[in-house]
């Protein structure tokens, strides 16, 4: 794209983005069409609509730009996912743009791998090296020796990446992220026949029963559900939605609950079925809904016979009374909603437990109803078995069947080492990274072709399960690139062009923008009736295309052939005597899976539950800690069958005595000055699979042992450890 057209587009975007008064737009439009040296009005900010890329939720953002510099990110009020709201990670995306340790231009490795020694090269040389490697593969008839690793891409970028790989002739395109909802898609497919993610109408619900679904901090679309939660609580005049949280650890989400049921890890599915049985046996189920889904109450009850209250109480370690009470409340306070989350899914019996929880929604008639759960139209399909694909790629790399790996993202940090990924990657002769920071993956690379920051990029952000409607969020550059970087898709296109032949023919685009514009207009224009000339600019002004729910929307309906969910006895890796405690790893509120760790605002943000800053920690029940002689902030060693690490301990009243928990995100070897060498990565402890046949990952099925090392944990909390228990003094 030419500079002139960029400026024109930006200028026009400015018009729409001036939220406060659109009528004043014209006078503010002019300065940007005239070159900046004449026309910048100091102190007058311009707002550009774009989309957030900090997590898969894809919220809409407005970026305030002053004198050519991005100053502040705000939520886009028009965007149906986040309705003008934004989370901490979204706010901090600004620092990704202006991070002082960004890779300023392409780098070539000049020392051993992992040493961090690189020499600066030009883009011409960098692209030459990349295409040289690709050509070598073609020459050696080893096109399938190319691997492309990306996060889970959606939309046009996914098409582009897979198109590149297909035309090049390699099957090894892996879209993997640790926390993506493959499990939810496969569970939904097993029960309802389609891999649509559920969209929960939380705001209209009167009773929420969340099983380890951390929708405030990480589950699916945190800002959307955080907002919906607020509305569920206090937006309606007479109704205050009730919230019960089930989970072995009282998470940030759980902290807002009215009632907490600390069920034993792995027992959530059985608990859900126990509640289902109780609802059926007391005839509290919605018979119409059962009939509509082809299920009969009596048969169902008979088949759930094993899940009688005493047994479920024993399995879950909860009092019978609470279970029954919650089940009755759930069945009678309609519309009610059951939500299954990662904590449940990453157990050995996770997939079946998730289905058991989904069954609860069916029982109370919450499928496809206001206040209930709908299929998400925006992301109807997506990867369901990416973990298995990861494992097979690891096998390929280990078997020296991969000679060139192109990696976007930071899998070296976010894939548990127990999968063998890191060791296998070391065997790949040539690794190209597209990281914009020298992260753990880039440190292992031979060539770094730095990507733009999100605020410099064109792109598309299709929200993950954040709304019922079809939404295409658009990303546009809000500032000129700070460094000599290029967008990942543009690099792919450039490489394709250089390679020529089949690859170039499959991707005949001058730039990613061209492709993006063409494809977006193709999909949107007929629906919205926009013409392709001004349509693009108006889409950019708005921040994307926000569709409406059509009448022909999909619904959830129980598959006739679907078996009833049957969660097995949970299994755990590690001998119970040697490793007496369960370990839960959970996405940190600030860093998600680690992508936020490089940003100082997020490092400085006190973790909401522990108020720890700039660190990682182990959460342990006060009673358990006392038994092990562990005090607040002590350094402890956590060991599993897989490995061990040292980190400070937080005495955490909201966790089962048989469980310890560590947040994800820290423990990076690279990632710039703010993340490097900070905290520990709990993934090092995890056992990947309980046995080879397992297709789903069970990150929460590892057992550990905790030993006190010293009192010097070096942990810093903003909350006073004793004062945190003295709310009586302020009478709140």
């Amino acid at each position: 794209m030419k500079r002139r057209s960029f400026l024109q587009l930006s200028g026009m975007t400015a018009a729409g983005a001036l939220l406060a008064g659109c009528q004043a737009g014209n006078e503010k439009l002019i300065p940007y069409l005239i070159p900046p040296d004449e026309g910048v009005t100091p102190g007058l900010a311009t707002f550009y609509a774009s989309s957030c890329r900090s997590c898969p939720a894809g919220c809409g953002i407005l970026v305030r730009v002053s004198e050519g510099r991005a100053k502040k990110i705000e939520g886009n009020p028009e965007h149906p996912v986040n309705r003008g709201k934004l989370c901490a990670r979204g706010q901090a995306a600004l620092q990704e743009l202006y991070h002082p340790d960004r890779v300023p231009q392409p780098l070539k490795r000049s020392g051993p791998r992992g040493s961090g020694k690189f020499s600066r090269i030009s883009w011409a040389e960098g692209l030459g090296l990349l295409t040289g490697q690709l050509r070598n593969l073609q020459k050696e008839k080893g096109a399938d020796r190319l691997a492309l690793l990306t996060p889970q891409l959606r939309g046009i970028l996914a098409t582009l990446a897979s198109g590149f790989m297909r035309s090049f002739g390699s099957p090894h395109h892996l879209s993997y992220e640790l926390l993506m909802p493959d499990w939810l898609r496969s569970a939904t497919r097993a029960s309802f026949g389609s891999p649509s993610l559920p969209w929960y109408d939380l705001a209209q619900s009167r009773y929420l029963l969340a099983f380890g679904a951390e929708f405030v901090e990480s589950h699916l679309s945190p800002v959307h559900y955080g907002n919906a939660f607020g509305r569920m609580r206090q937006e309606r005049d007479t109704v205050r939605g009730h919230f019960t949280y089930v989970g072995a650890r009282l998470s940030l989400t759980g902290a807002s609950a009215d009632r907490w049921l600390p069920a034993r890890p792995g027992s959530e599915g059985a608990l859900a079925l126990g509640m289902a049985r109780l609802i059926l046996s007391e005839s509290l189920a919605d018979r119409g809904a059962l009939a509509a889904n082809g299920l009969g109450a009596a048969q169902l009850l008979a088949r759930l016979d094993r899940y009688d209250l005493p047994r479920v109480a024993e399995l879950s370690g909860l009092p019978e009374g609470s279970i029954a009470e919650v089940a009755r409340e759930f069945a009678t306070t309609r519309p009610s909603l059951a939500m299954a989350g990662e904590t449940v899914a990453f157990q050995s019996n996770g997939p079946e437990s998730v289905r058991a929880i989904e069954l609860l929604n069916l029982l109370v008639g919450s499928l496809n109803r206001p206040g209930g759960v709908y299929p998400d139209q925006g992301s109807p399909a997506g990867p369901e078995t990416s973990f298995a694909e990861l494992c097979s790629l690891v096998d390929a790399m280990r078997g020296d069947r991969i000679s060139l790996a192109l990696i976007q993202g930071n899998p070296v940090h976010t894939v548990p080492p127990a999968t063998g990924f890191q060791a296998a990657l070391a065997r790949v002769p040539y690794v190209v990274s597209f990281s914009s920071l020298l992260d753990d993956t880039a440190l292992q690379a031979d060539l770094i072709l730095p990507d733009h920051a999100a605020l410099e990029s064109w792109g598309e952000a299709i929200p993950l399960a954040g709304c019922r409607e079809t939404v295409i969020g658009l990303m546009q550059p809000v500032v000129t690139p700070v460094f000599d970087t290029r967008q990942f898709p543009d690099v792919l296109l450039a490489a394709a062009g250089e390679l020529g032949g089949e690859v170039a023919a499959a991707l005949p685009y001058g730039s990613y923008l061209e492709l993006l514009k063409k494809e977006t207009l193709r999909r949107v224009a007929p629906a919205a009736g926009v013409d392709s000339g001004t349509g693009w600019a108006s889409l950019l002004q708005k921040g994307g295309h926000f569709g409406r729910t059509g009448s022909g929307a999909k619904v959830f309906r129980w598959l006739p052939e679907a078996p009833l969910p049957d969660p097995a006895e949970p299994r755990f890796a590690g001998d119970e005597k040697k490793f007496p405690l369960h370990l839960q790893v959970y996405p940190s509120t600030a860093f998600h899976d680690g992508r936020g760790a490089a940003l100082p605002w997020l490092q400085q943000l006190p973790d909401p539950m522990t108020t720890v800053v700039w660190d990682s920690w182990l959460e342990i029940n006060p009673g358990t800690a006392a038994g092990l002689g562990i005090g607040f902030g002590d350094l402890v060693e956590v060991s599993s069958a897989q490995g061990s690490l040292r980190l400070p301990a937080v005495i955490y009243p909201g966790i089962r005595p048989d469980l310890v928990a560590i947040p994800l995100g820290q423990g990076q070897r690279g990632g710039g000055r703010y993340a490097k060498g900070r905290g520990a990565n709990p993934l090092d402890l995890l056992v990947a699979r309980l046995d080879e046949a397992e297709a789903a990952p069970c990150w929460n099925a590892t057992r550990v042992r905790v030993v006190r090392i010293s009192e010097k944990g070096g942990m810093v909390t903003t909350g006073h450890p004793q004062g945190s228990y003295r709310s009586d003094l302020i009478e709140i």
């Binding site: 006073h720 004793q722 945190s724 228990y725 003295r726 709310s727 302020i730």
Partner: protein, 463 residues
């Protein structure tokens, strides 16, 4: 000696000395400095210089070099400030009150007490400036006319502080100077060369006429009467720095009298300490006798009892009302600072009360030295325990914190002590440290005039 006190023809008691002898002895401190004096000055100067370096470090780097933080925004500096303001009550107490109450035994220690007042308050006055985040614009706090019409905030206790301290510095300096006039004349008459010129200038032409003496006595009495309310107000205002806030543990009506009593306690103790030091340094055993120590010990006893009462009142109201946050502050203080609390209670209350009850102990110099020094250690701790625990556990429990002083704050506080000692050492070398004329006046009063065969007191005054 011609223009000193008009002396009647007297015969002295057997022990009495000639005027010249008295002068010689009392002014011996002005003799050429010895090597040990130089060593002392060098040592003290080094400590002051170190403090200045520490302060310079703070100014050039930022307040982070101190130990203060959120929520404990005041620490050792303000502790030092209150402590030195307290010490400055020595002069007022000893000279004014005893002067007004005509306690004749006050005379030999009067000068040093007054000098101590001036130096203490001067040192104290530096602390609020040292502790500023931006010391270089301290003058914003001074009400000077300016184009923008910006004035300081007269509602702020800090401004009251500044006013009161300035008034006290001026008042106590005048008080010191006024009392020194006859002595300066005396020194002038005994010195030569440029020194004589300097002392002549300072003596302001004092000749010792009867009229001058009459005015002098009137002025001294007036100043003594005037300086007492100033002294009381200074420490009341310092107490208001704390008492007018909403900080739990500070917001207390007992604070002003409690602070004044505390100030007098530390002042009296410091005077006794100083008496012992001067007596030894300048060989004044004949003038600072057991009687003086006995009397000062009695005062110490009374003040210590008063202080104990005030402390008891403060604590028992907190305990009785049991207001949650107030009690929280107190329990935190008793828990976290238990040994400091113990030292404070022993030093300020138990020990002085016990020892000063006994005449033998009151007259025993080593005991007195130990007790009075411990009193001031206790008083420093008392100031610290008032300031820091309250701030550490303020109203919002989540934002509680703690404090420990940094090397910079400790250095500056040590330098303050050294600076005070240096000023005093220099003063003692250049000015008569014992009020010569006052002492001689006393000698004169003790003297007997022969009348026929009888010998009668020279002056018809009651002692």
């Amino acid at each position: 000696m011609s223009n000193a006190h008009p002396t009647p023809q007297v015969t002295r008691p057997p022990t009495a000395k000639s005027a010249t002898a008295v002068n010689d002895e009392l002014l011996s401190s002005l003799n050429a400095p010895t090597r040990s004096w130089y060593a002392l000055v060098a040592l003290l100067s080094a400590a002051v210089a170190w403090g200045l370096i520490a302060f310079g470090w703070q100014v050039t780097h930022g307040m982070y070099v101190t130990g203060i933080n959120r929520p404990v925004m005041w620490g050792f500096y303000i502790t030092g400030f209150v402590f030195w303001v307290g010490l400055s009550h020595s002069g007022t107490m000893v000279s004014s009150i005893l002067r007004l109450s005509r306690a004749n035994w006050r005379r030999p220690i009067l000068r040093s007490a007054e000098a101590m007042t001036v130096f203490c308050i001067a040192v104290a006055g530096l602390f609020p400036l040292i502790h500023l985040g931006r010391n270089w614009i301290f003058f914003y706090m001074i009400p000077y006319p300016n184009q923008r019409g910006l004035w300081p905030n007269f509602r702020s206790p800090l401004l009251w502080d500044m006013t009161a301290i300035t008034a006290y510095i001026i008042g106590s300096s005048l008080f010191l100077y006024l009392g020194m006039l006859p002595d300066l004349a005396l020194v002038r008459d005994r010195s030569h060369g440029w020194r004589r010129d300097v002392y002549a200038l300072l003596a302001m032409g004092w000749r010792g006429s009867a009229h001058e003496w009459a005015v002098y006595h009137k002025a001294s009495t007036l100043m003594a009467a005037l300086i007492i309310p100033v002294a009381v107000s200074v420490h009341s205002i310092v107490a208001w720095d704390f008492a007018v806030t909403v900080v739990p543990g500070w917001h207390s009506t007992i604070f002003p009298p409690y602070f004044v009593i505390g100030a007098i306690l530390s002042g009296v103790a410091a005077v006794i300490t100083l008496m012992i030091v001067i007596r030894r340094a300048f060989r004044l055993e004949e003038y600072l006798t057991a009687l003086h120590f006995d009397n000062m010990g009695k005062i110490l006893l009374v003040i210590s009892l008063l202080w104990s009462y005030a402390y008891f009142v403060e604590v028992q109201t907190t305990w009785y009302a049991h207001e949650p946050i107030e009690w929280e502050v107190f329990s935190f203080m008793a828990d976290r600072y238990s040994w400091q609390l113990a030292v404070m209670l022993i030093g300020n209350s138990l020990l002085p009360i016990f020892t000063m009850c006994f005449k033998r102990l009151r007259r025993c110099i080593p005991v007195l030295l130990a007790v009075t020094m411990l009193v001031n250690v206790g008083m420093f701790i008392e100031r610290f325990l008032i300031i820091v625990p309250s701030l550490s556990h303020k109203n919002m429990p989540f934002a509680w914190g703690s404090y420990s002083p940094s090397w910079v704050e400790i250095s500056v506080n040590v330098a303050a002590l050294a600076g005070f000692s240096l000023l005093f050492t220099l003063f003692a070398k250049f000015f008569p440290i014992v009020a010569v004329t006052d002492v001689r006046e006393l000698e004169a009063r003790k003297a007997q005039v022969p009348l026929g065969r009888a010998e009668l007191p020279s002056l018809a005054v009651e002692d």
